[in-house]
């Protein structure tokens, strides 16, 4: 009994945190998604399905598809860029490895908003990128990169790359090098050893990194707003506008729940894949 009592005290902060900052907001958003919009903001306490019916509208489904595909591309690019990086990092001399690891985390010391503004300075018509290219190539016509979907994609990859690198590094660092040596002794080419040993063993890192990149990017609204110049709409922007200018909190709540559902399905698939992987000998 006494042990249980202690456990309860130790668990209290976590339970308190989850109830106050996760469960209660979630429940209130859920309730809001079933009531009517108030004429002058706020809500009217009448039950309705309408907010969910409105989701099945080509407009919002199209925006949702754009968000999901952008997040998928972002995840894939982060994986392609992050894997070699994490691999190299995990093989680096332990003495200098921590310095390199620190460099991955350094950008977090600056506020995300300011880092995104820096990209505006780089990508704008008379920005860093165009002036550099203009100096090297004599006939360079400036690229209109800012305020395009490409700029948003660049900003998202930049912002979430560390979230891919760190779990990949954690997985690759634990890799037993003797397994690769054994593969080579048995005649496997380095490429074959990589695909049959390194990749499967780093799968948990790949999946964890992919979730950490996909989930925040699918609902991102700050990066699209700043680098998309208000010209590119993602689901995060639509939700934000429902709570602000549109003053339609119920519909914003329904949109949030739809997004949450998609993320939930993704997470379930992720855990399944992870379990299958662990089940392998």
């Amino acid at each position: 009994m006494r042990r249980n009592y202690h456990l309860l005290i130790l668990l209290f902060p976590v339970v308190f945190w989850l109830v106050c900052f996760f469960l209660l907001p979630l429940v209130s958003v859920f309730i809001y998604s079933f009531i009517e919009r108030g004429t002058y903001g706020g809500v009217r306490w009448h039950f309705t399905w309408e907010n969910y019916q409105r989701l099945f509208d080509g407009l919002y489904l199209g925006i949702l598809w754009r968000s999901v595909s952008t997040a998928l591309v972002c995840t894939a690019v982060c994986l392609l860029l992050g894997y070699p990086f994490a691999y190299y990092l995990a093989r680096y001399k332990p003495k200098h490895r921590n310095v390199l690891l620190l460099l991955v985390v350094v950008p977090f010391w600056t506020n995300f908003l300011i880092r995104t503004y820096a990209w505006i300075l780089i990508l704008r018509t008379e920005g860093l990128l165009n002036s550099l290219l203009g100096a090297v190539l004599p006939n360079w016509g400036p690229l209109e990169l800012l305020n395009t979907p490409l700029a948003v994609q660049i900003g998202l990859v930049y912002g979430y790359l560390p979230f891919m690198i760190l779990p990949l590094y954690a997985a690759l660092e634990q890799l037993d090098v003797s397994l690769l040596e054994a593969a080579q002794d048995l005649g496997a080419s380095p490429r074959r050893a990589f695909w049959h040993i390194t990749v499967p063993l780093s799968l948990p890192g790949i999946l964890a990194g992919s979730m950490l990149v996909f989930i925040p990017t699918v609902g991102a609204f700050l990066t699209p707003d700043l680098l998309g110049g208000g010209k590119v709409s993602y689901i995060g922007n639509v939700i934000e506008r429902q709570f602000k200018t549109a003053r339609d909190w119920p519909f914003g709540s329904a949109l949030s729940f739809m997004l949450m559902g998609i993320v939930l399905v993704g997470t379930v698939l992720y855990f399944r894949a992870l379990q299958e992987n662990e089940g392998q000998p």
Binding site: R37, T39, Y40, G41, G42, L59, Y60, G62, I63, R124, T125, E126, E144, N147, G229, G230, K231, S233, N237, V238, R241, Q242, F243, K244, T245, A246, R247, D248
Partner: protein, 342 residues
């Protein structure tokens, strides 16, 4: 270890000193970013021996959301015209006691008794302004006088539009000869289609046009008069025009929420703002118009009767207030999402 304890004690002392300052009365002002200058704040602090704490919001809807969510503690808020009428309907504003605000008589009748608060029982005007087109006169020739210039392919990728659904749909409605406050879905549809054809030409949707104009990122901007005028200080070739088809006008008001903890002090602040010499500082700082005619004596000459700030009478007649359309808002929301999604 010992110096850690010293540090700890120092922090406690600092907290204590910080707190004892709180004994002074405090006025909590909730306003737009960059709307109450330091000299206005400090002047009031010195004269009344109080602290003025300023907190900011970025849109009228942010203010409404906070008040509806039950935020209390604010003594002064600065909603725009249509938001004043919403806040009155939501019963969130305190009635002003005119006896405590003798300087009320300084306000020009031009800015009193507007639709959103017909007897000014809840609000006094802080500034007024218009929406229009700012352009760089060294590039954009001839000088534009119509909204149609924002559909001119010659300026592709060289201009910005306000990132504001009512103002931007409103500009298209005005160009088509409709009212800004239309409740005819067909008119909104026509405006929406206009804006969709315009979108490939637009460099950016942004409500803070000042920096774009100064940086030379755009040579034209659909923007508010204050932004245009502030941009001229760095780029003197910038001009501002209210298109001949008409545009929107606004008053940003000062109100006291019902939940204000220091209502008497808040009324003294209102009275202070209406002194001509203080009111002049508002215009000098925000570059929006003053509603107190005698304040002009305290303004530098170029801010007194500038047509950017004080449009001539015939232009004033073409201006409309952006009123809240109630439940019809949904049509504007939907049109805006369609424009944004293209």
């Amino acid at each position: 270890m010992r110096h850690r304890y010293i540090l700890f004690v120092l922090i406690l002392v600092a907290l204590f000193i910080g707190n004892s300052d709180g004994q002074k009365k405090q006025l909590n002002v909730f306003t737009w970013a960059g709307y109450v200058s330091d000299d206005i704040r400090e002047g009031f602090e010195k004269e009344y021996g109080v602290n003025v704490l300023i907190d900011t919001y970025a849109s009228n809807e942010d203010l409404l959301a906070k008040l509806l969510a039950g935020a209390t503690g604010y003594d002064i808020i600065m909603p725009s015209d249509y938001m004043v009428s919403i806040l009155i309907k939501q019963n969130l504003l305190a009635e002003l006691n005119r006896d405590n605000i003798p300087n009320f008589q300084n306000i020009s009748p031009l800015f009193l008794g507007k639709y959103f608060d017909a007897e000014n029982r809840y609000s006094i005007p802080y500034t007024f302004g218009t929406a229009g087109i700012a352009y760089d006169s060294s590039v954009v020739t001839p000088a534009p006088d119509s909204w149609t210039v924002l559909w001119d392919t010659q300026y592709k990728n060289q201009f910005s539009m306000l990132d504001d659904q009512r103002e931007t749909i409103g500009a298209a409605l005005k160009m088509l000869g409709y009212s800004l406050n239309t409740t005819d879905p067909n008119e909104i549809k026509a405006a929406k289609e206009k804006l969709i054809t315009q979108k490939p030409l637009v460099k950016q949707y942004k409500s803070e046009a000042e920096e774009l104009l100064i940086a030379g990122d755009v040579v034209m901007a659909h923007c508010w008069s204050g932004d245009a005028f502030r941009a001229t200080e760095t780029r003197p070739t910038i001009r501002y025009v209210i298109p001949k088809e008409g545009s929107s006008q606004f008053i940003d008001a000062v109100c006291i929420p019902k939940s204000a903890p220091h209502k008497a002090l808040a009324e003294q602040f209102l009275n202070y703002l209406l002194r001509p010499e203080v009111n002049a500082k508002i215009t000098a700082f925000t570059k929006y118009g003053t509603c107190v005619p005698t304040a002009k004596e305290h303004l530098p000459e170029h801010l007194r009767e500038h047509k950017f700030i004080y449009p001539p009478a015939e232009v004033l007649e073409s201006l409309e207030w952006l009123k809240d359309p109630g439940d019809f808002t949904r049509h504007y929301n939907r049109a805006w999402e369609e424009i944004k999604a293209k």
